[in-house]
Amino acid sequence: MEEKPDFLKISNISKSYGVVKALSDVSFSIRRGEIHTILGENGAGKSTLVKIITGEASPDQGYIELDGARVLSFSPRDAHKMGIYMVHQELAIFENLTVAENIYTDHSFKTGGRIDYKKLYEETGKKLDMFGLGAVAPDTPLASLTLANQQMIEILRCIVAAPKVIILDEPTSGLNDHEAGMLMDILRRLKDENMTIIYISHRLKEIMRISDRVTVLRDGHFAATLVNDEHLTENVLINNMVGRDLSGSLYKIKTQSGAQEGAPLLEVKNFVKKNTLHETNFTLSRGEVLGVFGLEGSGASRLSRMIYGLERFDGGSLSVSGKTIPRVTPRALVKERVMYLNNNRKLAGLLPDMKVTDNMSLPILDKLSGKLGFIDFKRLAGITENFVRRFSIVLPSLSAKPKNLSGGNQQKVMLSACLVPEPEILIANEPTRGIDVGAKTEIHKFLLEIASKGVGVIIFSSELPELMSLSDRILVMRNKAVVGEVKCGDYTEQAIMRHAAFGKSPAEGTENG
């Protein structure tokens, strides 16, 4: 392959947030028309670096050179003018507006200053078709889309701007393999058109598949830029990133079920909701990790919300430890020591402006208070500290605010808060979304550990390898119904995907789906 010229040069960039040194003297170059991945643990400084490239943050030291010219200081608006667009780690979307307006935020289609909605919808429809989202109508409000589709819309927005540089900060963290695969194809196509792509992800397979080169950041320092040739392996990447070998513990497919005998811990009976969920039944045993897998629109995430009373259902009942819950609400379930991990940390998972310790104390406030009703802050700090160590949460202090943490570290805080009350049942939606490989193995270990102590865990995940290494049983959903069950020992990606893509759903033909 011929050497492509350097296009974007990052020179001696340093950036601190108070006492936190997010980046220290980072220098490397990105070539025109390459897919350049930035890899690093949670809090390594990846997002900070790309925010500096788009002018959303300004460096304390150092500068950026674009196409040989030094960029002094600029704003997101200037970056757009220079053709630099970014898909943000935390979605930057407008739920009150239509899909079309979310894609063409600058209202490109105007005749004499008047926005031409007909053209806008037409063009949006074409683009949606092109990217496999033909089922989405251009004039639907964005709020009614699933998280994954919202993510796709944000990606589309950047692509239609036909930028010179497109930066994607963990675009696949909310997508399943199929959707991620589609994104990969799109990115390859863009690369062929000589677009420069900066890519951030924690999914090593993906990185190996798509990158031309990989730059590794460690603790805010530049560690290495590696060429993706035959010598590069996942192990090399991990070694560069964390400085130790993790390959042994990563994604070993589970072969032995840990589910205990006896009466079920949780039982879902005849759950139904019109146009959303076909009759669903399953049980969860003590000590069992139950995986639920489904592609977009399969109803899996809606099911998770219904079990926790976050979304109403038309009929069916839920029992915990043999007791039927009369009214399924989060409150009733918390009483039964069921905890739920939300899949959207921005909307409903965290209190971004309160201290990390406050976030942790939420589910156990009553237990923390002493006789006089005062909160035992010492104990709280102890509990928090434990999780910080266990999941290697990177934070300046326990009183830091989640909004100032890196995305992966926010996720860790959110997960910890669910684990603090020592639940009997944990319903986790994408528990390791955006978490680096090192911390991920820690979290997996932890989940298996609590399961071995008798806790029942239901994991809704779009990541098959994760499900296969954690679950004792995987339910596969398709078209609003559970269409298959794969038992531990029979796991192969093909077997599960076959159900997810072709499983016969009883909802077929009866409803309009």
Binding site: A92, I115, A143, S144
Partner: protein
């Protein structure tokens, strides 16, 4: 049927239905409703309020509101008195007073958009300033004469049997409807109100957009003040009393939301029409003012609860809450 359903889902639905209900009620209850005199007084109350409500709606869409419009309207009316009595011709008076309103709007915009002061605090502050200034100025023209002929014509004049003020209001309705739907500047209000952080990342100048909405609202408040005093032929210390609340309630009735991100000019007008018809009903039925207050308060609470409930319901439908 589907047409009806899609209309029912529109944000303006509540206000439109409420207006129709009130008209029916008024037709049945009061013989005076369908009289020329009553229509004139309805126009006189709707036109200036609606003019301000367009500004308030723009603010609500981008996530803000302005409590100082009542004092700006009052101040504008009293300034008209000063200039008129000082002998200034109408083509000097009107632009100067509009400029004053614009200046108050800019001050609000500066405080909220640039200094990032909470809109509640900032506009209560300017409301006090405006009210105080207006009262100082009022003392000097108390018991003054009538306005000049040409100025009165502004309030009394009609075209095709409809007051100029109403025509101006309708022109602004057309303008705002178009601008909010079909121009980039108008759409940006929805972007900022929907997600301010993200709109900044899109390269929008969020501060300028918010500033603009405040400035326009101040300008419109002074226009309303001019039209109101021209209509009663002399300045008054009672112009604009409580109109900030009327406007805000009207806008929320008309499909706006304190959460930001939605609303329309037609909705603002329908909301104002509803509020005016309600007052009209109070008057025709000779209802006690205390009872009137109770009813308006109840409507305010109902509307705000509905606003919250509808937001929640929408979220529920799509499984997000």
């Amino acid at each position: 049927m589907t047409l009806l359903k899609s209309f029912a889902r529109k944000n303006e639905f509540v206000s439109a239905v409420s207006c129709v209900a009130l008209v029916v009620l008024l037709t049945v209850k009061g013989e005076v409703f369908w009289t020329a005199g009553n229509f004139e007084s309805l126009q006189a109350s709707i036109a200036p309020t609606a003019i301000m409500a367009f500004g308030m709606m723009a603010l609500l869409i981008c996530g803000y509101f302005d409590l100082s419009i009542s004092s700006t309207m009052l101040l504008a009316g009293i300034l008209c008195g000063h200039l008129e009595y000082g002998g200034a011709p109408i083509y000097v008076t009107v632009p100067l007073v509009l400029l004053a309103g614009f200046a108050v709007g800019c001050l609000n915009g500066f405080l909220v958009a640039r200094l990032r002061i909470n809109a509640l605090i900032a506009t209560i502050g300017t409301q006090y300033i405006g009210y105080g200034a207006a009262m100082l100025l009022w003392d000097k023209i108390r018991g003054g004469a009538k306005f000049s002929e040409s100025f009165i014509l502004l309030g009394e004049g009609k075209m095709l049997g409809v007051y100029y003020a109403t025509w101006i209001m309708l022109a602004l309705l057309a303008f705002f409807s178009f601008a909010l739907k079909y121009t980039s500047a108008g759409r940006q209000l929805y972007f900022v109100g929907g997600n301010r952080e993200a709109s900044r990342l899109m390269g929008f100048n969020d501060r300028r957009i918010i500033f603009g909405a405040f400035a326009a609202t101040g300008l419109l408040a002074s226009l309303a003040g001019i039209l109101a005093v021209a209509r009663i032929q002399s300045p008054s210390q009672y112009t604009g009393g409580g109109v900030h609340m009327t406007c805000m309630i009207a806008c929320v009735v008309g499909g706006g939301s304190f959460a930001g991100g939605r609303g329309s000019a037609v909705g603002a007008l329908l909301g104002v029409a509803f509020m005016s018809l309600l007052t009209n009903m109070f008057n025709l039925l000779e209802m006690k003012p205390q009872l009137q207050n109770v009813i308006i308060g109840l409507i305010l609470v109902t509307v705000i609860v509905m606003d919250g409930y509808l937001n929640l319901k929408k979220l529920r439908e799509i499984g997000k809450a």
